[in-house]
Every structure is written in C-alpha cells, then in structure tokens.
Amino acid sequence: MTARLLPSLFLAFFLACALVQIPFARYLKNRPVVEKIGYVPHAELLKMGSADQKQFMAALLVSKVLTYFGGVTQQAERKVVIPMDIRGIHRHLEGALKLDPYNMDSYYFSQALFVWDARNVPLANSLLDYGMKYRTWDWYLPFFAGFNSAYFLKDYRKAADYYRRAGDLSGSDLYQSLAGRYLQASGQTDLAIAYLATMEKGARSSAIKKAFGIRLAAFREVKRIEAALARYRSENGKSPVTVQTLISSGYLAPPPRDPYGGEFYLSPEGTVSTTSKFAFAPKGKKP
C-alpha cells in the first residue's frame, strides 16, 4: 500500500511546491527593501565570538551596511522616502572597526554617510582619528578629516594639521595647498565640487558612486546659482532677495533643481543654501 501511496504523495507535494513557487517568488521580489538594518551584538561579544574570522566578520558587517544603504537610496530615487537608520549603521560600522580597525571600507563609508546625510561630522572625525592610529600609512584618512574640519567645522587650524599629515603620507604638496585654499569661505563650493568629483571617480560601489554623483549634481547647481548671483551683483550693484529674482530677471536659466528634492534659497549672509540640506528628507518628513 505504501509502495503505491508514496509516489502519489511525492507527486502531490511536488505540485504543491510548483504552485507555491510563483506567488512566493513574486512576494520576495516585491518585498520592501531591508528597512531595518538589524541588530549587532555588543562589540566585545562579537570579537570573542568571531574567533579567527574577525576580518571576515568585519567585511560581512560592511557589506550588510552597503546593501541596506543601496536599498534605501534606491527607494529615495523612486520618491519613496524611508528614514535611514543612521544609528543602526553606526553600530554596524563601529562593530566592524572593533573587529578589524584596519578596514578601509568602513572609514570610507562612514565618511560618505555621516558627514553629509547624518550631519554628524564630529562622529566621522572621531572614527577617522581612531583609524589613523592603525592605518598609519594611509593619507586618505587625514585627507577626509581635513576636509571635514575645514568645510563643516570651520576649524582651519586642525584642517591644516590633517592636510599636512595627508601631504606627508602621500608625498604630495597638493594637500598643503588645499589647506590654504580652505581659509577662504568663498572658495568652498569649488573645493567641495573638487572633493566630490575625486570621491566619485574613486568610488567602486555603484550605490556609493551614485550617492556622490547626486551630491555633485547638487553642488554644481549651487555653483551655477553662485555664478548668477555674482553677475547680478556686479551688473545691478546690489544683492537679489531670492533665487526667484535671479530666475525671473534671466540670470539663471534653466531654473535650478535640487536632486534631493529641496529648494534653493539665499541665506541672509548671502550664501546659497537648500531646504534639503543636501540630504534626502530628514527623518520622517516628506520633501
């Protein structure tokens, strides 16, 4: 009896598998991207549990962060805004750096993310300082830290220190001269564009490359507005009140577009800003 029952039983389950397969695959395909980055164990536990696979575990954590980041930015382009779990990312990167303090991907990513999207420059710089203790040969870390100090923190003395270090390590005078140029606030947009262009060119992950590309596009728009602003000032002898004035008076065509979905405006100090703050929708708010 079982001899006859078993083949039909197998056939029935096999058909069931085939039937479930289609809706199952569709469900998986349309499942929302990893919205939650998930939990990382305490760094000490992670270190002890990884035995002799610390570097591998670190690489795994970074790749998890990267997948999450890629998923969220992809959704942002489709105008679906998911607040990014910056704290979760931070926990992951910190875990990765505890496991493998030499992991360059972690520093690179934290520089790309914390500085712009999270606006937590001191955090980014503290991670970079930590990394400089280990990656003693690497000029990238002081280069990042120098940019952060000058552009965001306006701490030019510290920036100069970092750039000198980057210059010493890379054997190039470029960074020392960069430090000097940061002293003029007016040159900041140019330098940010130069920095972002370098980063974009060196980026290997497509998600990261895209992120830099968007930011670069935003700064090119700022640059365009600044140029229009300068022309308006020299021709009219006064400053315009709004960006709209520049557009309507023909100095700025086509109208600038913020890829982050914000709107450009002129600050009372006369500099160009955007409501998006160069980041996709700050937590929860729709643009």
């Binding site: 002799d52 570097q55 790749s63 030499y102 290997r204 992950s205």
Partner: protein
C-alpha cells in the same frame, strides 16, 4: 609509526577527502569577483576571504579528522588488529596524529598556492594602495596550519578517553572557541569596564587562559591583509609555544591511550 602514518594518509585519500576539498576550489574561484564588492580594498578583501576560507576548512579538518580518526579505529574495531602489531600504543597514536598533521600541512600548501593565484587576479583588477607582502601572507597561512595542528592534538586527547564521538568533536570546538577568545577576554577583564564582575568569574577566565592554548597569537590575518610587519621575536616565541604545547598535549594523549582498555 611511519607505516601507521602512511596507511592513515592513504585512508584519507580513499575516503574522498580530497574530492571534498576540490569543491572548496569553486568558492576560491568566486573570490576575485566577490572582492569587487569592496569599495576601497579589493585586494585586501580577496586576502580576507581566502584566509577565512582556509581557516574554516582547516577547522573542519581539525575537528572532524582529528576527532574521528582515532575514534573510528576503535569504533569499527580496526584497532584490535592494529594494536596487536609489534609497536607501542604511543607510536600508533603518534603515527595517526602525524598523518592528520601532514594532511593539514598539505592542505595549507595547496590552498596557499590557490590563494596566491586568487589574490594576484584580484590585485590585477584593482591594484592595492600598498604592495602585497607575500611573505606575510605565507606566514599567516603557515601559522594558521600550526594552530589547527595544535587544535587537532586536543581532538586526539579527547578521543583517547572517550568512547563516543561527541566529546572529541564538541570538546575540540569548545577548545577552539575558548582558545580564540581567551586573549580578548583577559584583556577585557583587565579593563576598567569589567571592574564590577565577580572575582570568581575573573579567576576562572584567567585559569582558562593559561590552560587552553592561546590561539590569537597564531592569527596573522591582519598582518597578511594590510601588510603590517610581523614581529620576528613574537613568531619565534609563538613557535616555541606551539612546540611545547603540542608536545604536552600529545604526550598526555599517548599516556592516556596506553592505559586504555580495548574491550
């Protein structure tokens, strides 16, 4: 002893162990493309993945080969005829252990060559910031092999006193985990964060630290991946530690095994 070693090695090859290892080559083949997922350290990632793969394979070999090779001889009653041959139990055990150790070394040599090839390919697609220190890479693989040889000596030790296969396998895994974490645990206990911990717990950890081998000294992955210089004196001390520890564990295993009743 030699003959036991040869015949055991022959058994490993006949058991299709090599076929199993060949499957791992498929994973090695995937490493160059996997490494491209890295943003900034493609070559470094390829070294990380290769070394991780070698470690995992060696761990499996140490635990299962070390844990079952003696156990199987007793369980399948091969030992009755083997131990009646005119050599001592100690020599028999040593022969079996040398077979496992040699096999581990052989696997390390083969996978070491594969790693060199894989890393060369990865480095060609995206040159690293710093030149690869090949000597460090080979040293890391060599020290890894030493570590797993030491670990399999524990598997043998457990197998001499156990009639089941659980103690050798699970006991060896436990030794591996404790031995890999003991350095970190000891350092953590010394830190101010751990000041509130129970003194008994602290004492247990420090006993374990001295009893179980400290495997973290054998881990040169960071040096291999990022080209960080290796301390020569440290290596000599680690090798001395390896020889002394291995000698102690194996001689204890030989002693216990020579007293075992082959009922």
């Amino acid at each position: 002893m030699r003959f036991v070693m040869f015949i055991t090695l022959k058994g490993f090859f006949r058991d299709r162990l090599v076929h199993g290892l060949l499957i791992s080559l498929v994973f090695f083949a995937a490493i160059p493309s996997l490494s491209n997922l890295s943003m900034r350290q493609v070559t470094e990632l390829s070294i990380t993945l290769s070394l991780s793969m070698i470690s995992v394979l060696q761990l499996v070999l140490a635990v299962f080969l070390g844990g079952t090779s003696l156990w199987k001889d007793i369980e399948r009653r091969y030992a009755f005829s083997l131990l009646a041959l005119p050599f001592s139990r100690g020599r028999y055990l040593l022969g079996k252990f040398l077979a496992v150790a040699l096999f581990t070394l052989g696997v390390a040599v083969v996978l070491g060559c594969v790693t060199c090839a894989v890393v060369t390919i990865a480095a060609a697609s995206y040159p690293p910031d710093r030149p690869i220190v090949w000597w460090n890479l080979l040293l890391a693989i060599g020290m890894d092999a030493c570590k797993y040889i030491l670990l399999s000596s524990f598997a043998f030790l457990f197998a001499t006193v156990s009639s089941s296969f659980f103690l050798p396998v699970l006991g060896t895994l436990a030794v591996f985990m404790v031995g890999s974490a003991s350095q970190g645990a000891l350092e953590y206990l010394g830190s101010s964060e751990a000041a509130t911990m129970a003194p008994l717990f602290k004492r247990t950890v420090s006993y374990l630290y001295y009893l179980v081998p400290n495997f973290s000294a054998f881990d040169l992955k960071v040096n291999a991946i990022y080209g960080i210089p290796v301390s020569g004196r440290g290596m000599i001390l680690t090798l001395l530690y390896f020889v002394a520890y291995l000698g102690a564990v194996i001689s204890l295993a030989m002693l216990l095994f020579s007293r075992r009743e082959m009922k």
